[in-house]
């Protein structure tokens, strides 16, 4: 939960098992159980990846979306191909849900190891629901409420012998539905939709498992059932539920992308899988190329042909595309390049999250090669950022990077349905004949004509990787290279002028301004909420346009005594994370500090609060720029090195480099627990 504004709202409290409770009957409608009204709950499912806990978790997420509740999920993916411990965490709230939650209110443990590894994540008074066929909890630990259900045995009993213990996930879904008073009708509809395409018997089996779980007299073991508060939505738009890669893929379609090319790599693959499946419906296609070099080159072929194409990858694959992206800068080609970041360098932490490819996106190239870099802040924003990327790529005829990351890619959130009628962009090239055409005219922004467009004066344009004149023909003229270099750079300056400034969350002046980018949006804003509720003058901005930066950011910075840039990458040689370094270079602003971490996991709110505690004393003055010079003993350094203490986090995680491409191409979405230290 951890809702900072209402710290007293607790989803689940210690069960007292009052005598008034009697055994539940087999009917779903029990009048005697008065559900307690709650606003927010964090439910963590812990098992093995083949148990389908993602499926069960996703049902909860989608149900919440259909019930107009905010929802955010969190899962870790194993680098192993199949099997291994895995978790799926769902946070459902009737109010605003910003982050997946630091602690769980409700833990479902399928195995002994699930219990052992995750019980410390359960908040005091939280409920441990465990499979009593497989788990023996330490009942002496009185901090938790214990609910043992012989899940394996009952599932086998409900489904008959042939099912073995498959279906445990759906059985548990039934239990959860009962405990949280969820809408059974909607859940059953979701189950039918999910399995409907398959064999009839699969739907029936799932419904049987669900019914058995729902009918289990869990009320015997638990004093209370719960119900989410109903919040009347004012917006009127229905909610849709999807993960970040889905939002990105559909955002690209809305942006008018009809052609693309890629190569499998975690965590990008599902974007290409969706586009491969969906684009033919729109008359386009997505090509699985032989390698990353080919994929970006095929995409540039689509661009040359007059379409707005996409290619994408994770960091290592982007490295391979870099030469061709340099060509796209030089030839001024519209192109969207998606980087779903993971831990690096090299194969790194393929299934973990990191924001360490910002430098690569902005600077990763030979020569002066201007490009635009955007970052999505939430799952919902993955959809909108794709449309923004398309707009910029077309308007400025330039490569545009979209940075997402492993946590956004796999996280499921519910958000208001976009107004597609307003957002959908035209996809077809315009082949209207022209009188004349100069592709690289110095006096205006380049807009290429698609081949097939007749030109009356008979002079056809060439796209060139050599420095060229206004018609695209090669030139070694020093003047022309200067003029063309400036032309390519100036369009980014034009863009910077038109970019909107980010909203300031909290007051627009104060002591500390937190600056974030990408998937840290939730925890940063949660942290600001908590700090403000304690009376601290802390605000936040979240940057979507990272290169170029919007003009006028300096005016926001001027209104705060110190600025702390929070990001999931290394503090680097000089003690600053990647965005912090870029901002310091851009604004020459010594009050910009840096809070980073490199454990491959999303920020917890607590980590931000602790890190800020080290970075500055909230009531003391931090306005003296000299005090934040990055000396080892300085506060900045202390803040920046928050990560170092957590570096052991990954020590015992089973990484199997080289397997991620296989994992990705098989479309598996399995989870891994990487959090043994907590």
């Amino acid at each position: 939960m951890g809702d900072p504004v209402n710290p007293d709202v607790t989803a689940v409290q210690r069960a007292e098992l009052p005598n008034g409770e009697r055994a539940a009957t087999q009917t779903p409608e029990r009048a005697d159980l008065r559900p307690e009204s709650i606003q927010d709950a964090v439910i963590r499912l812990a098992g093995n990846s083949q148990d389908g806990i993602q499926t069960a978790g996703a049902f909860l997420a989608r149900l919440a979306g259909r019930s107009d509740q905010e929802v955010m999920t969190y899962m870790t993916i194993p680098a192993t191909i199949s099997g291994g411990p895995s978790i799926f965490q769902v946070r459902i709230g009737s109010g605003e849900v910003l982050s997946p939650g630091d602690e769980a209110d409700f833990l479902v443990a399928f195995y002994q190891h699930s219990y052992q590894d995750h019980v410390s994540f359960l908040k005091e008074g939280g409920v441990l629901l465990y499979d009593s066929d497989n788990v023996e909890p330490n009942l002496e630990d009185k901090r938790y409420v214990y609910v043992g259900v012989p899940v394996t045995g009952l599932t086998v009993e409900a489904l008959g012998g042939t099912a073995k213990d498959k279906g445990k996930n759906i059985f548990v879904l039934g239990l959860i539905a009962k405990i949280f008073h969820l809408d059974v009708e909607k859940l059953v509809a979701l189950i039918k939709e999910k399995f409907g395409g398959k064999d009839e018997s699969i739907v029936n089996t799932a419904i049987m498992a669900f019914t058995a779980g729902y009918a289990y007299p869990v009320g015997n073991l638990l004093s209370k059932l719960y119900q989410f508060e109903k919040i009347e939505k004012s917006g009127g738009r229905a909610q849709i539920t999807m993960d970040g890669n889905q939002a990105l893929a559909y955002g690209l379609i809305a942006a008018g992308v009809r052609f693309g090319a890629g190569y499998p790599i975690t965590p990008w693959s599902s974007v290409m899988e969706i586009l491969r499946r969906e684009l033919p419906k729109y008359g386009g296609t997505f090509v699985q190329a032989e390698d990353e070099l080919a994929s970006v080159s095929i995409a540039l072929g689509f661009s040359l042909a007059g379409y707005l194409p996409v290619t994408g990858s994770a960091g290592p694959g982007i490295s391979l595309k870099t030469e061709a992206i340099g060509w796209a800068s030089m030839a001024e080609m519209p192109l969207i390049v998606v980087n779903v970041q993971r831990g690096g360098p090299s194969t790194g932490l393929p299934t973990n999250v990191e924001q360490s490819d910002l430098y690569q996106a902005i600077f990763g190239g030979h020569g002066d090669s201007p490009r635009v870099v955007l970052a999505a802040k939430t799952v919902e924003d993955c959809f909108y950022i794709a449309i923004e990327a398309g707009r910029i790529a077309r308007k400025y005829s330039t490569p545009v990077f979209i940075l997402s990351d492993g946590s956004l890619a796999t996280r499921i959130e519910a958000f208001d349905e976009p107004n597609l009628a307003e957002l959908m962009q035209e996809a077809k090239p315009d082949l209207t004949p022209r009188e004349t055409h100069k592709p690289y005219a110095l006096e205006r922004t380049t807009h290429h004509l698609a081949p097939g467009t007749r030109i009356r004066d008979g002079k056809y344009p060439l796209l060139s990787g050599l420095e060229h004149d206004e018609m695209g023909h090669p030139t070694g003229s020093p003047k022309m290279h200067m003029a063309m270099t400036a032309k390519r750079r100036n369009k980014l300056r034009e863009l910077a002028k038109e970019l909107p400034l980010p909203d300031v969350y909290g007051h627009d002046e104060g002591d500390v301004l937190l600056v974030g980018w990408g998937s840290t949006y939730g925890p940063i804003h949660d942290a600001v909420k908590q700090l403000r509720s304690r009376g601290e003058k802390v605000s936040a901005i979240h940057l979507r346009h990272l290169h170029p930066l919007p003009d006028g950011l300096e005016n926001i910075f001027a209104r705060f005594k110190s600025i702390v840039v929070i990001e999931m990458n290394d503090q680097g040689v000089y003690g600053f994370g990647q965005l912090a370094t870029v901002l310091r270079a851009r604004f020459c602003e010594p009050k910009i500090q840096s809070l980073t971490k490199t454990d491959g996991l999303t920020f917890r709110v607590k980590e931000i609060l602790n890190g800020l505690g080290q970075a500055h004393s909230p009531n003391g003055s931090k306005s003296n720029g000299a005090s934040v010079t990055p000396e080892p003993s300085s506060p900045t350094r202390a803040a920046a090195s928050v990560s170092a203490e957590r570096d052991h986090a990954m020590d015992n995680t089973p990484n199997q480099p080289g397997t991620e491409a296989i994992l990705a191409s098989s479309g598996t979405n399995e989870s891994r627990d990487t959090e043994k230290e907590r």
Partner: protein
Amino acid sequence: MNDTETVAMPVETPGLVDFPREKLTKKAITADHPTWCPGCGDFAVLASYYKVLEKRQVDHEKIVTLAGIGCSSRFPYFVNGYGAHFIHGRGVPLASGVSLSRPDLKVFLFGGDGDGFSIGGNHLDHGARKNINLTYVIMDNFVYGLTKKQTSPTSPIGFKSKTDPQGAVDQPVIAMKKLVASGATFIARTHAAQVNHMIQMIERAMDHQGFSVIECLSECVEFYPGAFDPANPRKGGSFELIQEKKWDGTAEDEMRHDVTDELAAYKLAMLPFPGVFGVFYQSDRPTKNALEKRWVDQSREKIGQASDLDILQKTFDRMK
């Protein structure tokens, strides 16, 4: 080009500013004066290309001339038409993108042996395997010329270059063996000194539905002069043509080459230099263009007349 054979996005039809079409002349498609060394074989390839476009009266705006990096890859600058001078070795994927999304265009790719057999060798294999509808002319001179005489993937053993002052030691790529093995569906070999033959080969390649590739021996007079004299009758060599089967049932026909016979093509490819010239292999395996188009058509059939907006809206409705 046959639209039903290729993947298609409907393209806007020309509208308001239309003007009458003039005859395509050599003058109209000539651009910069080539920067090649005097006597370079590539001049003849360029002249043959002009000739084919003129002879076939291809719509000017539908000619797309692409290349990677190398001496021969300067080609697009000398053609007045849509085109691109891309990066080293990636011409095949670039051309694939154009071909797959625009069935109305004529896609030609030019390059050298370094571009095609070394840095871009993998792309050649995959473009061929996927049978993407385009024509690729590899101007093979057995040497890196643009960078001034380094060993190329087709340089023969013993060839002395700046990177092999003692003579090349690595087994060269035998171009025709690689091409036959690649899965390309039209494979021919010609010589820049044989303009009429070259024109014939380019025309046949252009008419072929699928990945058509030509190895064209093109002498580098600066860094490997005389490399192809054994294939040039004027210089005492022999230019032996492949006799293709006419299927006339005659006894002579028994001895002729069946272009659909992959094994026979491979045997021809194994002949010692200078080997033979003409069409080694041709088959009518479906193109990727056609296969993708089929998927598009099947999808559209299910969807009916729905607009792009309707399709995406329907998808979102399912995610509520």
